[in-house]
Subunit: 151 residues, 2 copies
């Protein structure tokens, strides 16, 4: 019943959900989104709730309720979504002791931190460069390509 769970996939999940919602008229329920993502509806509510708190989506309860995007696709970057999710840890590797007295360990930490900070800065810059509108356009391109291949 449980699939391999090794990494935080919430950014991937919300991106998929948001693009799905962008292509869809009217609100989408957690149940429907959960089926698209292969995820539990409660997990969808939990995760989308973070985007709601960030003002990126809104939710309506009751009949014909569900989730809606409440922001311009062109203004929402992956970095904003990462921030909305609480800026989860990016790396699975880190220092053993963050504030060591030992000079050897300080030298080790300095070298590792430098590399990690550079990589993190690059990643967040790339995230800042990509908007939901970009992803929607890429999806449209792939869609057209598939149609062309079929003909």
């Amino acid at each position: 019943m449980y699939s391999y769970m090794k990494r935080d996939s919430r950014l991937s999940s919300v991106l998929h959900a948001l693009l799905h919602m962008a292509e869809h008229d009217g609100p989408m329920t957690s149940e429907t989104l959960g089926q698209c993502l292969g995820a539990n509806p409660v997990v969808v509510r939990r995760t989308m709730g973070l985007l709601r708190e960030a003002g990126l989506v809104s939710a309506e309860r009751g009949h014909s309720g569900g989730w809606r995007i409440s922001a311009d696709l062109k203004t929402v970057s992956l970095r904003q979504l990462h921030a909305a999710l609480g800026e989860p840890a990016i790396f699975a590797i880190g220092n053993r002791n963050e504030t060591p007295e030992c000079l050897v360990e300080q030298a080790v930490n300095a070298a590792l931190d430098k590399a990690f900070l550079e990589a993190e800065a690059l990643l967040l810059d790339r995230f800042a460069d990509v908007t939901l509108a970009d992803l929607a356009a890429d999806f449209a391109r792939r869609h057209a390509e598939r149609r062309a291949t079929r003909d």
Copy 2:
């Protein structure tokens, strides 16, 4: 009794241990290294064992036994150590589904993968640029600096 454990700190640990060994005459026991690192001796043996399999250190049993470096500090890079540890996952974030049929998710994965691969390449390049000798030199610099501050 348990400290916060959220990330793989083995690279940090082996670097600390190796530099300690480099400054030390004769072999060092897992017990001693464990005290330096604030780690369990069995964990030290487990982790150093991976370096032994990579030919970077050797171990001797019995009286006055322990761990020795069996490689030139100038030739061992952080990247080699990362490889010796089995190339553990670098990122704590990833895609939900690595091979989706859905075109939306394919567009999402492509964007995320591109950013992650760039960041990973940068990190591994930085790792390849730093050798144990570099870290030892940085330690020596810090050591001299502390002495100067004390005077």
